[in-house]
Symmetry: C2
Subunit: 161 residues, 2 copies
Amino acid sequence: MSAGESIEARTQTVLAELKRAGLKLTPQRIAIVRELACDRSHPTAQELFERLRPGHPTMSFATVYNTLDALVRLELVSALRLNGDQTAMRFDPNTTAHHHAVCDACGAVIDIPALPPSAPLKKEVEEIAGFTVRAEERIYRGLCGRCNDSRKQGAQSCPSR
Amino acid sequence: MSAGESIEARTQTVLAELKRAGLKLTPQRIAIVRELACDRSHPTAQELFERLRPGHPTMSFATVYNTLDALVRLELVSALRLNGDQTAMRFDPNTTAHHHAVCDACGAVIDIPALPPSAPLKKEVEEIAGFTVRAEERIYRGLCGRCNDSRKQGAQSCPSR
DNA sequence: CTTGCAGTTTAGAATCATTCTCATTACCGT
DNA sequence: ACGGTAATGAGAATGATTCTAAACTGCAAG
């Protein structure tokens, strides 16, 4: 998704892609796509389900998972699973090449645009056992700006999450 | 674990650390430590349990998980969870700084020694929202040497995994 | 060498995330 | 509007992991 795109514009773009792929535009899918369209919080399926329930009391988990699977397969959404105790898959409407920074304190997940691939690094990996690198995933661990500030100022808890 | 250390030597080192941390050296723990000591295959708890069962018919999953948790907490073993459909935690006796390369074809997980931290990269991340980087995890995706070769030669399946 | 007890183990139940099943429903091309 | 086909919903099934409660056992102190 491009930076300044509105939720509605992005929703329509994604729905058009779904249709182009031969998938039916059901009310459930439309709601899921709209909910995730410009969400930068990397929600889990559970979280999306709970947000959608008020407006769609009969929606089932299966539908949420099915739709997210389709979106991931069509590369309209990306999926990531963090290490540690966060075992649930998270979904991200940002489909541009990027990595993730995870805050040790508040758990916030922040997108980090991928830098142009570093040729020396890639080469070094390839020299090990002849491995051919196709893609690279990175997770940076540390403290987000807010938690950094809170820590300096005293014992405030981090507001996000 | 240093490269040339024998299984028995590494086992004794780890057991000494466990004892030093106030944990009792039970036969189960000793078996688990020895099984994992020089294993470079990144096994899951399930896999370790199945390998240990013949020699310890009454060992339970809880014991395997408890022991692995203790080893991870003491930083004598590291844990990693891959993206994709491999949802189970994997355990790695290599406690030196390293990343992982995962073969798209056969699923093999290979350790890649971490390069000295790249200052420019770190800085670039830190400039985004004031994030302070403490650590970085990387997963390289691609084809391992064996699968690369198999692919060139014809339709052989990859022997490992 | 015994003893005691805190730390461990065990088997199975519980939990969490995810996938599956299959009967019912509804999109959408004609 | 109709019908075929795909999607949905409710709940069961699965897989990984954690919890529970009762029985057991390293090991330090006597």
